[in-house]
């Protein structure tokens, strides 16, 4: 069962390679806008780069998770999920993970290039990588939850981000502070631990929450 689910998700992403490359290209586009707007001063970037990377990560995850269920909802697949006698939580969990692999993992992989562009030290870029690996699954999960909340609406273009961005704040604060701490030579393990505990809180509960939300969304 699980191998069919994974195979299906993978083939959907690989058949439309845009799905993989567009978030990455979007990420780089936004990142390169900052120097154009703020001017190419190196000292300034040392200070703001954690914020820049994380704001860009937010935008990317928001856009990719915004219409996560929309296509399946229109095709009637969500109804099949909810009238099925197998555990849908596993399906949802796999879909979250695969969505993360294809939208956020490329960004994580390309962080070394960002480090070169902005002259980030090796140690800082390791921490940036670490916070992204732990933090973006939380963002993706919350984003998907937001898209499930607004599923019953015909149009939800900007509504979902408005609702869920406040929920992103803790992840942002701890991630940015970890990156700032390491560049200031301070310990950053506390922030990483908090992020990790947020991840272990969000990821296992999210499939159950999503199932419940979908049930409400479909009952209109």
């Amino acid at each position: 069962m699980i191998n069919i689910l994974i195979k299906k998700e993978l083939s959907l992403y690989f058949r439309n390679l845009n799905n993989i490359f567009l978030p990455l290209i979007f990420f780089f586009l936004i990142i390169s806008i900052f120097p154009l707007v703020l001017g190419p001063e190196k000292t300034l970037f040392n200070k703001i780069i954690p914020g820049v990377i994380w704001i860009t990560a937010i935008l990317t995850t928001l856009l990719t998770s915004n219409n996560f269920f929309k296509e399946d909802f229109n095709a009637g697949i969500i109804e099949t999920y909810l009238t099925s006698d197998v555990s849908i939580e596993i399906v949802l969990f796999i879909r979250i993970i695969v969505c993360w692999i294809f939208t956020c993992l490329p960004i994580v992989i390309f962080i070394p290039i960002v480090s070169i562009l902005f002259d980030i030290t090796f140690q800082s870029s390791i921490v940036i990588l670490l916070t992204l690996v732990i933090g973006t699954p939380i963002l993706i999960s919350i984003g998907i939850f937001g898209s499930a909340l607004t599923l019953g609406l015909a149009k939800n273009n900007i509504l979902t981000p408005v609702i869920i961005i406040p929920f992103y704040i803790p992840v942002l604060i701890f991630s940015a502070s970890a990156i700032q701490s390491v560049s200031a030579g301070l310990p950053y393990d506390m922030q990483i631990y908090i992020l990790a505990s947020l991840l272990t809180l969000v990821l296992p509960t999210m499939p159950y929450l999503l199932k419940y939300t979908l049930e409400i969304s479909i009952n209109n």
């Binding site: 439309n16 009238t83 006698d85």
Partner: protein
């Protein structure tokens, strides 16, 4: 052989449903047992789809209840969800997957199909004459062939209760015949079929119950 002994009684008692404070249907009463075929018939907008969704449990009722073997379908230990297969008027197919992949994927959600089901899926596609399209993407198929793909799930599934919403749209006549014989076979296997339609195709089917719905 277990399945043959599996007695099922569905009773719908004074079911009433509202959407956004509008009455969709009111005081619907249904009694069904193994081998029954029920036709929900009525014009557009009379609440057929909503009634079928209520019978699946994804639409909540305002008044009344739906019982299976005297247990409410929303109660915890209800066997309902293990017995139903629902085919909505949306086909529940993924446009970017082929016919075969879609059937493989959908059979994941139906535990009665079982694993290693390549032969079964081939049979199901054969039954509705879509084996030749097995590697076509759904987006490349005609509406009729999409409907056939969706109906092929019925050949695969061993579920007792079929809930079909407008299964006839876009189907031509020779497929209709094989669809009717599929229903007869299911009735003979003690299955229950509930169909919403605007066209009465039940001439050659026995044990038919009608539910005529009116626009409110």
């Amino acid at each position: 052989m277990d399945d043959a002994l599996n007695k099922i009684e569905i009773s719908v008692n004074s079911a009433t449903c509202y959407k956004n404070n509008n009455l969709i249907f009111e005081d619907i009463n249904i009694e069904l047992k193994n081998g029954d075929f029920m036709l929900i018939i009525g014009p557009n907008g009379c609440g057929k789809t909503t009634l079928i969704k209520s019978l699946c449990g994804i639409q909540k009722l305002e008044f009344g209840n739906i019982l299976i073997n005297n247990l409410d379908i929303h109660s915890k230990n209800s066997e309902y969800i293990e017995n139903i297969i629902y085919l909505g008027h949306k086909n529940s197919l993924n446009n970017d997957l082929s016919v075969q992949e879609n059937l493989e994927y959908l059979s994941v959600f139906d535990s009665s199909v079982g694993s290693n089901n390549f032969d079964k899926i081939k049979n199901a596609m054969d039954y509705f004459n879509i084996y030749k399209y097995k590697d076509y993407m759904i987006s490349d198929l005609s509406e009729g062939n999409r409907k056939r793909t969706s109906l092929a799930r019925l050949v695969l599934s061993k579920k007792k209760i079929w809930l079909l919403d407008e299964p006839l749209s876009f189907l031509d006549n020779n497929i209709l015949d094989s669809f009717v014989s599929l229903i007869k076979r299911h009735q003979a296997n003690d299955g229950i079929v509930i169909v919403s339609t605007h066209y009465d195709f039940s001439k050659s089917i026995s044990n038919v119950k009608y539910l005529k719905m009116e626009t409110k």
